[in-house]
Amino acid sequence: MADFSIIGKPTAMVDAAEKTTGAGKYTDDLRVPGMLIGKILHSPYPHARVKSIDTNRAEALDGVVAVVIGKDAPNPYGILPVGHDEHALALDKVRYVGDNVACVVATSESVAEKALELIDVAYEVLPAYFDPEESMKAKTDFIHENKPGNLEKDYHHAFGDPDRGFTEADHIAEARFIANEVTHAAMEPHSTLASFELDPHTGKLGRLTVWSSTQVPYYLQHKLSLVLEMPMSQIRVIKPLVGGGFGGKSEVIPLEIIAAVAARKAQAPVKITYTREEVFWAHRGRPRTIIDLKTGIKNDGRITAVKARVVQDGGAYCSYGVVTILYSGALLGALYDIPHIQYDGYRVLTNKPACGAMRGHGTVNVRFAFETQLDELAAKIAMDPAEIRQRNLLKPPCITVNGLRVQSYGLPECIEKTVERSGWKQRRGKLPKGRGLGIACSHYVSGAANSIIRSDMPHSTVNIKIDRDGGVVVYTGASEIGQGSDTMTAQVAAEVLGCSLARVRVIAADTDLTPIDIGSYSSRVTFMAGNATLRAAEDVKKRIAAAAAKKMGCAAEEITFRDDLILKKSYGGAGDSSAQDSHEADPSASLRADGRMRPSLHGSLTLPESQFWSASVSGRVEGQILRGSLQQKRKEEGPKEWMTFEEAVVAAIDFHGALTGTGSYAPPPEARGGKHKGGGVGPSPAYSYSAQVAEVSVDEDTGEVTVHKVWAAHDCGRALNPVAVEGQIVGSVWMGMGQALTEEMIWKDGMLMNAGMLEYRSPSSVESPEVESIIVESIDPEGPFGAKECSEGSLAATIPAIGNAIYDAVGVRLHESPFTPERVLAALRAKRNAKSLNMTGGIDPTAPARLREHGGSLCFGNKGPERHKVDPARNQNPASAGGAD
């Protein structure tokens, strides 16, 4: 199986043409007859009771069809079964500035926006909590009544004997790290279009179809059924093209529920598309995280124990929070060999938009702290930072102290290759002043071994149907969100069936057509949907082989499929000898496809397969007629040494009837982790590994950091599509660099100061460094063709690699990300004992009291915001105006 004809070769994305030409349709491009526009009214207060909502004036506006409020759909929902704390629209309380209060459905966006101004809401302002450590001290006015102390969830884990581990240590480092809040900033803002059909018998609203920019169509279907009280079979969710998710679309986002509720009330199709500001409010990004980390090592660099106390500022709703706080602890394991781990994690509610899953879910901030501290310890014992990492490698196959099973482990090779390519040994410490190199490692799951909703259901199922002319249709629930899932699916199917990629069409993520798949998150698609595709293809292949064997007068086991041919293994150059050529040894294997191996069809039909498929329509018809007669002729000739793919397919259909196959994947029980409370999060059938070296320079007068180059090695098991793997590595490094240097959500008393792409600064192409991506293939025993994840694992290493490079360049350790110029300069000043400047006072969200001085108007004692007399909210809001008048 090592000699591949499809996988392992750089392959253009199957949807590349429609995306690059603009012909492709994203949700906001869709229109249906009679479609109306929905606009959401958001809360101006971070924490308030909703006393009353008067929609009369809004409903009276010309062009307004309906105004939807919380009572129209009061059922709670949430992505986690333990976190059903959200409602379509506020029922009794609003919990962050931007929380959803009402929705206007109107004939145009501008009418809907005008109507929003006419909705009269009376609020009773409540004390609000913005800092997690303050929030945990709350005695009254909890954000959710059933969460005392505003604690969403806490976990306390001890694996091994942490106390003993620290006693054995020769050196211990202990420090507080802060990673500030970041968001996905996907290119496409969320959009949902919901439309009901009329029931043919009753004439009332019947089936619901929802087109939405989602990573998880089946979860959306499930939550819609809860909120709308409809059976799932009456709801069809279709995922059009999605312009990036990064976790921001990996759960049900308020607009998806609101659009459906609004369509029901308006009795017409409704589309809602978020503004960029609303995308920031919907958020679900990476929480601001406070990490108190303690690590012990021996003199030889071996880690003896790790203790982490992690506090996550989770925002106002649970979202994926319970999973995030568990990942933060669980993924302390499975990268290095750590004998003793203690973990105390607190997921805290605050009056800010909910945090959720974001690329590298749960691992990134803790990894930043850990890799920085490990570097500090290496410096303490004067050990090369690359070497201290090599001293602590796992010895797989193994099960870590916290119950994670590791089988394939490319980390040693990742470290080796980045060190070699970056010239680490020759260059580190010898670069000009202000320039430095830093190294860090990271890892990530290839999908969670346990799904959110515990059940024995397979995590992925794939169906394949093959048409009479040899066209292969793959039905998968996996969501293509730009990461290449459809292309991967087509490649795997084509590889197994030995047919050309052009034959394969992928129908994905439509709950009416495709079998269930739990979605595109936690980097599970290649591993799980890939395995399901492989099994479905094997299933259908078996049927073809059986029919072909009969025609060829041999046993099914004697047949091999490749290059659109079905051959006896003993035939020509297609026998076992070539099948044993290793992929690595002969990378040009594909070149043989059309040339050497294709048997001549008695000189009469010489069109190679590829030309046949790209021929004009009339040519194709003629070709088919020609082929039909040839096939007939060949049929009459008796047993063959080989058949074309179509001949074999026709034979199989003649023999079996419809030619279909199905396959599914569920992670094996032994990969599902320990039995401890919360032990279900963290286990994965396989882990990806990454090592990175960053080269930076620091301007010591301004604190500005420039990243010149990043060498990033990633163990993805096997690169099914190397160009897509490289894209994911580069994207991860780039996104990690954003979090390392420039991206940060800035809050003032619950107001997000930078809810837009101008002030929330994702890096531009100007400061994007060269990224040398290095693919490492450890060939996982359970991955499809040995493949593992490649989309998330690299991100976490970038932040500490840059931080460690800054240390190498100018000798300062930064414990708070992002490393903005002011933070770097403050650290440089502190190191030089130069005149210290208050560099962070104005924006540091750890100091809300000080921010109020800057913010001026918002003061949450017992007094509401002081509002201007023309502020409409003041006149209609006796509760808040009382203090000010």
């Binding site: 207060y45 145009s108 007068d701 100061m753 002011e822 023309v870």
Partner: protein
């Protein structure tokens, strides 16, 4: 966010434009490149009944060198045209350097020099959506009477955030203003008020039509240094322009101006004067930087802390002076 509804006026000549302005007076906004006006209108910072689109007026577009050496730049000349002018690059390098840092290449293709001079002052509490501003409380600059940046204050501190005006101030540029009854030339220095709300001296019935670079300012060495988080797109968080003429290693004339740290671009007279007659060295550049930093009044109108931005004025001034000397 939808654009508010408005009627678009498309005059073909200046006189026609001035007539329209006179008729619609306070209910009109002038559109040239639109790179700032359009997003601001979506945020409902402006909801005019009329938008006056200047694009059809061709005679205020382009760069002309007069026989006396003075350079005339039409207000509608795009920033990329200014950036690419080899004449300006050769003789007025400080302007070329400054204009090349405005926003991004795509935005410079739309944005105009007149628009950059007239750019609305900016503040984190002002450049926000209507919903946001309602949540926070309206401020002096728009609909309110309090200031979030200087609590208790009655003055608006929104930062003037264009890149070309400090360069133009260093060049002693003048602008032509056309109104219903007159056409006048004023030094750019007199155009700005230092107040964040009424940030320019321009009647609602008037238009800025041309910029003039005096012949005497030609061939000054020039440098512009801009503080921003990203290498592109960002508005300046602090900016310093230096124009300098030397003879025999001594400074014959020098002017230094800053942007983005006050409600107006500021010509730091004292700093320029300090250089005259001297040979520039590290210490002198440092001293000039100190003066500039003292003149800057950065507040929490923008990203990065005020303390840091003031510090960067010091560093950037020093560096710009040294670079101009090289």
């Amino acid at each position: 966010l939808s654009l508010p509804q408005f009627r678009l006026l498309r005059p073909r000549a200046i006189e026609e434009a001035i007539d329209s302005l006179a008729i619609h007076a306070n209910n009109v906004r002038v559109l040239s490149g639109g790179t700032d006006l359009i997003p601001s209108m979506r945020q409902k910072l402006f909801e005019p009944e009329f938008v006056l689109d200047l694009h059809g007026i061709s005679d205020i577009r382009g760069i002309r060198v007069q026989s006396n050496g003075e350079v005339e730049i039409g207000a509608l000349t795009t920033l990329s045209t200014v950036e690419k002018s080899s004449y300006l690059r050769q003789h007025f390098p400080v302007l070329t350097e400054a204009v090349a840092t405005v926003a991004s290449p795509v935005l410079r293709n739309m944005g105009t020099i007149g628009g950059n001079i007239c750019l609305d002052t900016r503040c984190l509490w002002y450049n926000q959506s209507l919903t946001w501003r309602k949540g926070c409380g309206f401020c002096i600059k728009k609909d309110g009477d309090l200031c979030h940046v200087a609590p208790g204050g009655t003055k608006c501190w929104a930062a003037f955030s264009a890149d070309t005006p400090p360069a133009l101030l260093c060049l002693n540029a003048q602008i032509e203003i056309v109104g219903p009854s007159e056409k006048r030339r004023v030094p750019l220095l007199d155009f700005y008020t230092g107040d964040g709300v009424e940030y320019r001296r321009l009647l609602p019935t008037e238009l800025v039509t041309r910029v003039f670079l005096p012949a005497e300012s030609a061939d000054y060495r020039g440098v512009y240094r801009k503080l921003r988080v990203r290498g592109s797109i960002d508005y300046p968080l602090a900016g310093v322009a230096v124009a300098m003429k030397r003879s025999k290693n001594r400074v014959e004339d020098a002017r230094i101006a800053m942007t983005a740290v006050n409600p107006a671009p500021v010509l730091v007279q004292q700093a320029g004067e300090m250089l005259i007659g001297k040979t520039i060295d590290e210490a002198l550049a440092e001293a000039v930087g100190d003066i500039a930093a003292r003149t800057a009044k950065p507040l929490t109108t923008s990203a990065l802390t005020p303390e840091y931005r003031r510090e960067m004025i010091r560093v950037f001034t020093k560096r710009a002076v040294l670079a101009a000397n090289n």
